[in-house]
């Protein structure tokens, strides 16, 4: 199967620090989405970046997309303890039904 992959699986940082997580993928995609999942909850979409965009910002979040290297990153500036979660990248692959393929996730622990 064709899965997105995160390069880092677990991070522990101090509140206020910045954090960046990466996602590299092997399949063609036109859309990369980043989701955050807090413990016991469903994932929530944070940011969506399309293949014609190199960077997208939303508040403290910044996503980049490099289609030539097939990689995307998500950065969070000035982290808060409430940013503690698992972060997934997800690829919309060009198969029927708007299939989303999720990466393995990066667990981020922000220490207060």
């Amino acid at each position: 199967s064709q899965w997105g992959e995160e390069n880092l699986q677990a991070l522990s940082i101090q509140e206020g620090e910045d954090v960046t997580m990466n996602c590299s993928y092997k399949t063609y995609t036109t859309v990369v989405q980043w989701y955050r999942q807090k413990s016991g909850k469903g994932p929530a979409q944070l940011i969506l970046i399309r293949s014609n965009e190199r960077e997208k910002r939303s508040g403290r979040l910044r996503a980049t997309l490099d289609t030539s290297s097939q990689s995307s990153s998500l950065s969070i500036t000035g982290t808060l303890a409430t940013d503690t979660a698992v972060y997934f990248c997800a690829l919309r692959t060009n198969s029927a039904g708007n299939k989303l393929t999720f990466g393995i996730g990066t667990r981020v622990l922000v220490r207060p």
């Binding site: 899965w3 859309v31 989405q33 016991g40 909850k41 469903g42 994932p43 929530a44 979409q45 969506l48 997934f88 997800a90 919309r92 029927a96 039904g97 708007n98 299939k99 989303l100 393929t101 999720f102 990466g103 393995i104 996730g105």
Partner: protein, 111 residues
């Protein structure tokens, strides 16, 4: 505003017993609906999707089935649970072409 509900919140079932999980979307007509499964500590795996009433496509075979009996309802079921069915089941709908919104999930433990 659209809302998504899943029931039950959690289930503990015996191996070999039947299962039925439900998902309802309110405030959105003819949504695209999806079922996902997530092992504890794992990633999300798309199981089924449905574009319209009575139509369901399987993405991954896990000895589960899905049905879309109403426009706003998506059901996941099996007649015989396996230990490997344990996990977190999530229903999602598509607000527009690419953005998927997830429900609160159902935690299933098979003993």
């Amino acid at each position: 505003a659209q809302t998504i509900h899943q029931w039950p919140v959690a289930e503990i079932k015996a191996v070999g017993s039947p299962l039925s999980l439900g998902c309802t979307i309110k405030g959105k007509s003819s949504p695209n609906l999806y079922w996902y499964w997530q092992a504890t500590g794992g990633t999300l795996q798309q199981l089924f999707y449905s574009i319209t009433v009575g139509q369901v496509e399987s993405v991954v075979q896990l000895n589960l089935s899905a049905s879309r009996p109403k426009d706003d309802q998506f059901i996941l079921s099996t007649e015989k649970l396996l230990l490997s069915h344990s996990g977190f089941y999530l229903c999602a709908w598509v607000r527009d072409r690419d953005e998927q919104y997830f429900g609160p999930g159902t935690r299933l433990t098979v003993l």
